[in-house]
Subunit: 154 residues, 2 copies
């Protein structure tokens, strides 16, 4: 990893910077609400995520600036003989840093952490409209073997 | 629900019946190990799943016979303004009961439970080789909007 980049667990004071990244995205734009003060539901979700030891909500910093985030959640299933999976969600990189391999650093971190925690699989779903992103994950070893089915509730 | 079908949370004495269902499947056959006694790792995974209040490992019974199972896991993210999702995994129906709407009962249970728990989304991934299964989920309202990317670790 380049010398001034650092990956660490997110803390509550990072929340506004994380939501800024989540909102600065073609899809996130329609879904998120990046305001000052931040809507209460983000704080509530952060508290829940942070209190659950199966979650690793991380930030990637360039010096003191937060330029990337993702959430890794470890899930135990009975399938695969009681196997654990690392599931990645909410991957965002600051737009001014895209194309510099920052996303790769972050996903590699999640893969390595999943391995350390004895996961047999790392998984994520990717909106099929994010046309150019699939190759990024394929280069990291992921296979698009599954359909990602979603049902939005009322 | 037909009068003799019942859905309930799984308990440890159901474990062998659940693994029997997991193993009796074209994919499960290659991955699971249904033996008596059951390999220790299934017991370990059951204990972990059961201890985590975000998990709902359920069985569907016909009288006293376990004929279906699935796991619903509730995950909180920062995305969607701190939204919760219900994630379904390990869906299996006894082969002699297939095509009778049992799977529908179970997935509807998971959708309803996710709604009760204030989830905004229900999701699952489905192996693209399970050709005939996608229509089942589409009829229940799911959309194949995402790629399901998987990376198996050493």
């Amino acid at each position: 990893m380049a010398s001034n980049f650092n990956i660490r667990k997110a803390c509550s004071t990072d929340l506004s910077s994380i939501v800024r990244l989540l909102a600065n995205d073609p899809f996130g734009k329609q879904r998120e609400s990046f305001q000052d003060p931040l809507p209460e539901q983000y704080h509530r979700a952060f508290t829940e995520i942070d209190a659950n030891p199966n979650n690793y909500l991380i930030v990637l910093e360039d010096g003191k600036k937060i330029i990337g985030t993702c959430q890794l959640t470890i899930i135990t299933h009975l399938t695969y003989q009681g196997g654990k999976r690392g599931q990645i969600e909410g991957v965002r990189i600051d737009e001014s840093y895209r194309g510099q391999g920052i996303g790769k650093l972050m996903i590699e971190w999640a893969i390595n952490k999943s391995g350390e925690l004895n996961c047999h699989l790392v998984q994520l779903t990717m909106d099929k409209k994010r046309l150019d992103t699939i190759e990024f994950y394929q280069k990291l070893g992921f296979t698009a073997s599954h359909e990602g089915l979603k049902l939005h509730l009322g």
